[in-house]
């Protein structure tokens, strides 16, 4: 290793973020590769290395004979300063190759407030930021991930987007790229983009023209190239048992956020909480089979040396054979000192029983998400949980020996009244009372975590006005005054950050200039409070003559064309509108997982179906 690097690495915090060589890291000889791809994650190593999607793609791409995938994460600010001072380009972890020398650089759009990191990483890689400024020598810049369902704020920076699940699509992308490169890159960049655009799930923003009304709303988004569909529908994997799963995930040296085996038990969730974007964009529900899961666990334990397995999904309690799965895994592996964790548990005593079974030590506490403080509000958001459900669940938890419970809520929900905010505090005290009833003690500990609702595209609330910063801060202050109790620790999110998240969640292409300006002004790692500078963002908006309130505080009329109108997640707008109306009249919509279809449109549009072993039985 060059001496320069040793000096740099000796100065920065956590140098192991930048040196790779972890167990199961894959190195392939570049001279034998046709497609050299980078999986770039716009956050630090510990966050990015925890991402399941990237673990899957790393595995699938490197299993291809002529494709190599390497990783890069956002360098922390100290490392950025070192790279800039030494004028060194950003390189991949596996081979130390500058990103600019690879064929395709893919970014994960995990979160709107990491967009400045994408720009910063491109700049550190010495690659032109604007797609239009990149020439034949530069890599293709692509992006995917949950925020891709409104890709427009990044449309001018990215060559193409991957909409939906990439397991199958990404190898098609690599093949088409390899074929084009083998043939001597006929037609240049434009031609490869045309070929990509023909794949279902690929969106090439340069091929779509956006026109605006005088008031700034979108008039139309039209494909300007015949290779492009008017609406790009997401890709999904119909049978999860049939796709490759990363049974040899990288085992990091550093302790990462999810430092354990992540076993995805199913994808999708159709409980239909109206605020939750994941509940719409990942439809339909598709379970992996018990047999497949058991086999995966054994392989992953053998290949990693981890001794903790997390059964992940959007709502683990909903897996049809969960009890059986947990019991079998416990029987098979607990003698090897292996433990199981169950994130995202439902609020009921069944879930508490399960948690009891897997969590022998009660120290880590239990988390429940009632989401709203009153029944009326929970009806609006379609959270099918009653106060009684919560009472039963916490009673069971306290009886089983837990003394610490964490409750998740949101404020700023549509049609919210002051009594709904007060309801959060009332519920918190009720939980503490139950603790005292059950244990006879007054030493219960409760964490109340309150985030601010951000309306997201492709949800029934995509039309609603988001609360202003002032409104949110008033609600937070109200809760601060109501939750003054030494047994309660109350935390909440920065209202300004949620506000900006809201701007980019429902933003249009014109925001590219704002993003670029904010980055020029030094914005990066916006999601890290110590690096979030709201005034720089305000200046970036002012410099471009745009008003953030236009994107957030405006109730959109039913007929408005959204900036993401040409991106489809399979759920129809008509369904979302019906759900919005149901919200305003506080009507419940049942889960289609084991009940009747509520006609959201996903299954017919994507020629797919629900896979749930409880349903077929």
């Amino acid at each position: 290793m060059a001496l320069m690097n040793h000096e740099i690495l000796s100065r920065v915090t956590k140098p192991a973020r930048y040196t790779g060589h972890e167990w199961n890291m894959i190195r392939k000889p570049h001279e034998l590769m046709k497609c050299k791809l980078v999986l770039a994650f716009p956050d630090v190593y510990e966050v990015g290395q925890s991402n399941l999607g990237y673990r899957i793609l790393y595995h699938i791409l490197n299993n291809q004979a002529h494709t190599v995938a390497e990783r890069v994460y956002a360098p922390w600010v100290d490392m950025e300063a070192e790279l800039r001072r030494a004028q060194l380009p950003l390189t991949t972890l596996e081979s130390g190759t500058p990103l600019g020398e690879m064929d395709i650089v893919g970014f994960n759009m995990q979160y709107e407030m990491s967009y400045t990191n994408i720009l910063n990483m491109l700049d550190l890689a010495q690659i032109p930021l604007w797609a239009a400024a990149r020439g034949e020598k530069e890599p293709l810049i692509i992006a995917g991930g949950p925020a891709v369902y409104n890709p427009e704020p990044l449309a001018d920076f990215v060559d193409f987007f991957i909409i939906g699940e990439a397991e199958e699509l990404i190898t098609e992308v690599a093949d088409i790229f390899s074929g084009w490169k083998d043939a001597g890159k006929p037609g240049g960049r434009r031609e490869i983009l045309r070929r990509m655009a023909a794949l279902q799930g690929i969106y090439v923003p340069a091929f779509y023209d956006v026109t605006y009304h005088a008031d700034g709303t979108v008039a139309a988004v039209v494909p300007g190239d015949e290779a492009c569909p008017p609406c790009v529908q997401k890709r999904i994997v119909k049978d999860l048992d049939k796709v490759d799963y990363p049974t040899r995930p990288i085992v990091p040296f550093l302790e990462i956020v999810h430092d354990r085996i992540m076993l995805e038990i199913f994808r999708g969730c159709t409980r239909g909480c109206r605020f939750c974007q994941a509940g719409f964009i990942y439809r339909p529900v598709r379970e992996r089979s018990m047999e497949r899961l058991q086999q995966l666990v054994q392989e992953m334990l053998d290949n990693t040396g981890y001794h903790e397995i997390s059964l992940t999904s959007l709502s683990s309690s909903d897996y049809s054979c969960l009890r059986e799965l947990v019991t079998t895994l416990n029987e098979t592996f607990s003698s090897q000192g292996v433990s199981i964790s169950l994130p995202s548990l439902r609020i009921d005593s069944f879930s508490v029983k399960l948690a009891e079974e897997v969590q022998k030590v009660r120290k880590s506490g239990l988390t429940f998400a009632p989401e709203a403080g009153t029944q009326r509000m929970r009806d609006v958001i379609n959270k099918g949980v009653t106060e009684e459900n919560l009472a039963d669940a916490v009673r069971a938890a306290f009886a089983a020996g837990w003394s610490a419970v964490k409750l998740y809520f949101m404020i700023g929900l549509p049609a919210e009244r002051e009594e709904d905010v007060r309801g959060i505090a009332a519920l918190a005290y009720k939980v503490l009372d139950i603790y005292t009833q059950v244990t006879g003690k007054r030493n219960g500990r409760l964490t109340v975590s309150v985030s601010s609702f951000v309306p997201k595209p492709h949800t029934p609330f995509q039309w609603v006005a988001q609360d202003s910063i002032k409104q949110i801060e008033e609600k937070q202050q109200l809760l601060v005054s109501l939750l003054r109790d030494r047994r309660i620790s109350f935390n909440w999110h920065d209202a300004k950050l949620s506000y900006l998240e809201g701007v980019f969640a429902r933003g249009d292409r014109r925001l590219a200039k704002v993003l670029h300006r904010a980055w020029e002004l030094g914005c990066r790692f916006d999601g890290w409070s110590e690096h979030f500078h709201f005034e720089r963002w305000q200046q970036a908006f002012a410099d471009n003559g745009l008003e953030p309130a236009f994107y957030t505080e405006r109730e959109r009329p039913a007929e408005e064309v959204f900036p993401w109108a040409h991106i489809g997640c399979g759920v129809t707008t008509a369904y979302l509108r019906r759900e919005y109306e149901a919200a305003l009249t506080e009507r419940f919509t049942a889960d289609c997982r084991r009940g009747p279809c509520s006609a959201c449109g996903v299954c017919p549009q994507l020629d797919a179906g629900v896979v749930d072993w409880g349903r077929q039985a």
């Binding site: 290793m1 040793h6 000096e7 192991a16 930048y18 060589h21 972890e22 053998d302 040396g305 981890y306």
Partner: protein
């Protein structure tokens, strides 16, 4: 049964911390499917003990660890399995199988040796450097203020320094050999010795850019230097 292993920490893992290394070792042991002894209790952990923590950025050719197994295994077989599972840069160089319960590595290891390859801020003659080293060694006391997250502490480093030699001097860098005592009152880090040399003896060293390697962890008994692998004889 216990295995006492001598291993290296080389370039690929230079920048991992002691905690990272311990985790990597534990995972390798689990992958190797050795019958690891576990502690009692709700949260059982494996019984593994190291001789001495190595700082981030420092390589070594001489680290030691004791691993307790709950069943006896042919040592060579266990070692072969483990070797296949160690990440690049962690390499087993020697081992002993211990039937009896030996004193903990932490208790017996009482000295360490390092080579330090240090860039110079300005050229310095070999004679000048030698004189600076000699002056440091002649000192009765080396007062040093150590800052840690817990606060600052002033201590005398001199008792911990056993030997300090100049191995090579070039125009822009110098290579030193250092031996230190590890006592129940603590020890001294190579970086700290360099810091003292620069700050108190005017040696033009850039200790922040030093390339440091540990080449020795040993047991000094009645002026005889033993390997931790041989202390039972």
């Amino acid at each position: 049964m216990k295995l006492r292993i001598q291993f290296t920490k080389e370039e690929p893992v230079r920048y991992i911390s002691h905690l990272d290394l311990a985790r990597a070792f534990e995972r390798a042991l689990r992958r190797a499917k050795l019958p690891l002894a576990l502690s009692e209790g709700f949260n059982p952990h494996i019984k593994v003990a190291y001789a001495s923590a190595l700082s981030v950025g420092v390589t070594s050719s001489s680290e030691f660890v004791d691993i307790e197994l709950r069943e006896t295994r042919p040592a060579e077989m266990a070692l072969t399995a483990l070797r296949q599972q160690l990440p690049a840069g962690l390499h087993i160089v020697a081992y002993r199988m211990l039937e009896t319960n030996p004193a903990a590595l932490m208790k017996v290891v009482n000295m360490a040796g390092y080579t330090l390859d240090v860039p110079l801020t300005q050229p310095a003659g070999e004679d000048v450097l030698r004189a600076q080293l000699a002056a440091l060694l002649r000192a009765e006391e080396l007062v040093f203020t150590r800052t840690s997250p817990k606060g600052t502490r002033t201590l005398d480093l001199r008792p911990f320094i056993r030997e300090l030699d100049l191995l090579e001097a070039a125009a822009d860098r110098v290579k030193l050999a250092l031996q230190v005592h590890i006592t129940d009152k603590g020890s001294v880090k190579p970086q700290e010795v360099l810091q003292v040399l620069r700050a108190q003896y005017a040696a033009p060293l850039r200790e922040d850019a030093a390339v440091i390697h540990r080449n020795l962890l040993g047991v000094l008994r009645h002026n005889e230097l033993l390997s931790p692998l041989d202390v039972f004889k």
